[in-house]
């Protein structure tokens, strides 16, 4: 993207001044180098989102922004239901509540030396990954499924897939309120039946990592992270149920938008008023899908704990935090001196509340929310912390990952799965995946530099770096 099209306010804050039908400015947080590397569609999509009714303050883009569906990936936009605000499927994504959780193991990286292969093989054998592989938990009847859709991670914990302490470390305390299982179609239910406790494919992963560097000793101490610690990250979403809901409501909103008088600059911005029947139906279904994702990551956690229990009996896996990066949440924000309840879309962006926020669990309230940012398989990931400044700059939002640097098609032309696995093994990183093509598409070289992204987020005041994590074992679909 040509940075000359933007007004630079600070080294990491760039505005698209309102023009045409834009109701608010576009605000992009990124270094100049990241801006230059962004595709031009980001400019168009940030501008388009800014035209939507009821949008409040700005249409935001995080440092990892790239071309999405209507909304850019890395897009954040809040809407006021009292001024005709809309809700958009593209602003949430197909993989509703795709997110990450980080588990401490109580082990040091050195404790695993010599047993990496055994752990990798066991995780690969037991974790259901990829296409066609069913989960261990089958939801047989509608009642069970409804209970899961209403209860989320709390449902899973009540069934023995974790502890109450886990719930204290999950957004929404493990249960998204306002879920309406009645809004979830029969097809979505059937699509989920065999997928409970599965990882998925594409950019989903389960990674055993070591804490390689600390940047904020105080926050790291509060997160109980030390250099040399062994940790586990799980990146997965709402599986078939979420995807089916995304598809069904994309169709519904595409057809209905004109009936609400919405003149969309891009039909991919399919949306409806929040207060409309379809808007409320989507909210009910989307929240159910969030619970499905939270339950799914909780079940995966139980599976990982079971594997560690056999391979590394001294380990004790505790949850640092679980964040979603494809959601629409109702949040209170101070806008022009008034506190308003807004519907905040974050598509490929993470909530990043600062210290003192009442929605944070008590044990983290004085330090701020952990923000988990995945790099690529083979490169580092980061733990960040939300800032107070970020609350006013970007409605308490931060980046979520590195973003792709090339298409899957290009990645397949440049890389082979076999070579990637061999190269990473030579660096001491074990990749386990049933799909060589999937590995090639997810090659480290196909992604941008996550360090540049988190550095820009810090410079922009959205979040602060706490720790860097290096991969040891990566399980992929």
């Amino acid at each position: 993207m040509d940075s000359g099209r933007l007004t630079q306010k600070t080294p990491t804050e760039w505005w698209i001044e309102p023009h045409g039908a834009m109701r608010v400015p576009g605000i992009l947080f990124a270094s100049e180098a990241l801006i230059r590397g962004m595709d031009d569609k980001v400019f168009e999509q940030v501008s388009n989102v800014a035209t939507l009714p009821g949008i409040v303050r700005a249409s935001y883009a995080m440092p990892d922004a790239h071309w999405g569906y209507g909304f850019p990936i890395g897009g954040v936009a809040a809407f006021d239901p009292d001024t005709g605000g809309v809700i958009s499927v593209g602003g949430v994504g197909f993989d509703i509540s795709c997110g990450v959780r980080l588990l401490r193991t109580g082990m040091r990286r050195s404790d695993l030396r010599g047993n990496e292969r055994e752990l990798a093989e066991e995780l690969a054998r037991v974790i259901p990954v990829g296409v066609g592989r069913g989960g261990h938990v089958r939801l047989e009847d509608a009642e069970q499924l409804d209970a899961m859709l209403e209860g989320g991670a709390a449902w899973a914990v009540a069934r023995g897939y974790g502890t109450k302490a886990d719930l204290d470390a999950i957004e929404e305390h493990g249960t998204m309120h306002g879920a309406e299982p009645g809004m979830v179609s029969e097809l979505a239910r059937r699509r989920q039946r065999d997928q409970m406790g599965t990882l998925g494919s594409g950019n989903h992963y389960l990674e055993v990592q070591s804490v390689s560097e600390l940047f904020d000793a105080s926050a790291a101490g509060r997160f109980a992270l030390e250099e040399g610690d062994l940790v586990v990250s799980i990146h997965s979403g709402s599986r078939g149920l979420g995807h089916q809901i995304g598809s069904e409501f994309l169709r519904r909103m595409t057809i209905e938008a004109p009936r609400h008088g919405l003149q969309l600059p891009d039909r991919e911005l399919a949306c409806v008023p929040i207060t409309s029947r379809s808007g409320q139906a989507y909210l009910g279904a989307m929240r159910a899908a969030v619970n499905c994702a939270l339950a799914n990551r909780q079940v995966l956690t139980a599976i990982v704990r079971e594997v560690f229990g056999r391979v590394a009996p001294g380990a004790r896996l505790t949850l640092l935090y679980d964040v979603s990066h494809n959601t629409c949440n109702v949040e209170k924000h101070r806008i022009d001196g008034h506190v308003k309840s807004l519907f905040v879309h974050r598509k490929g962006a993470t909530r990043a509340f600062g210290a003192g926020h009442p929605d944070l669990p008590a044990h983290l309230r004085d330090v701020g929310q952990p923000v988990l940012v995945g790099g690529s398989m083979g490169t580092g990931s980061y733990v960040l912390v939300g800032t107070d400044e970020g609350m006013t700059r970007a409605l308490g939002s931060a980046c979520h990952g590195a973003g792709r640097a090339m298409s899957r098609h290009q990645a397949l032309r440049q890389f082979t799965g076999r070579q990637i696995v061999a190269d990473l093994a030579a660096r001491g990183i074990l990749i386990r995946s049933p799909s060589p093509r999937g590995v090639a598409e997810e090659a480290p070289g196909a992604y941008k530099d996550v360090t540049a992204v988190v550095d820009a987020a810090e410079q922009a005041g959205l979040s602060r770096k706490v720790a860097r994590l290096e991969p040891v074992i990566c399980i992929k679909g």
Binding site: D39, H66, W67, G68, Y69, G70, I73, F94, D95, G130, V131, G132, R133, G134, L187, R190, R191, R193, D194, Q195, G200, S201, G202, N203, G240, H243, Q244, G246, S247, L250, R251, T254, I255, R267, E268, A270, R404, S407, R408, H409, Q410, L412, R413, T416, G417, R418, P434, S435, P436, R437, G438, A440, E441, G477
Partner: protein
């Protein structure tokens, strides 16, 4: 063990007779574009279905062990394409199927099809990725000046 698909997920040569139908992928950011073309809109849809299969695995390794009926109706050809691809995606996800051949009939904006395939076998098919849904990105169903129909969109993986 190199995937049989690398590096060649590109166009398929048309069959030797006159009909000129085929499929290909086109690149898009984080996801994949599927495109089918043929002398009729129904054939273009059938080819788009093969392009969708090819996102997951090579269509030629899929055996025709059973057949599934698919029917959809939409307010336009474009939405019909999204519905068609989503119906295939649903069966791949919920029924763990993969399809290697499609027979499609389209009447106005109504589609009826027979999808030939089998239950997915992780070892034989080596599925690369799970498709989440069809999107409106690059969504087009058009008749070209030479009479060929083209049906395409990006799918989210």
């Amino acid at each position: 063990m190199t995937s049989p698909l690398q590096p060649s997920i590109v166009s398929r040569p048309p069959p030797p007779l006159v009909t000129c139908a085929g499929w290909e992928h086109f690149p898009h950011g984080a996801d994949i574009g599927v495109r089918g073309w043929g002398p009729t809109v129904a054939e273009a849809f059938a080819q788009a279905g093969l392009a969708l299969t090819a996102v997951v695995c090579e269509p030629r390794v899929v055996r025709s062990r059973d057949v599934v009926e698919i029917a959809c109706r939409a307010p336009s050809l474009e939405v019909l394409l999204v519905d068609w691809l989503d119906a295939i995606i649903y069966r791949m996800a919920a029924e763990r199927r993969i399809f290697g051949e499609f027979e499609v009939r389209i009447d106005g904006f109504e589609l009826r099809a027979l999808a030939h395939g089998e239950i997915i076998d992780a070892f034989r098919h080596e599925p690369a990725v799970e498709v989440k849904g069809a999107t409106l990105t690059a969504l087009e169903v058009t008749e070209k000046p030479d009479g060929r129909w083209c049906a395409q969109c990006v799918v989210d993986v």
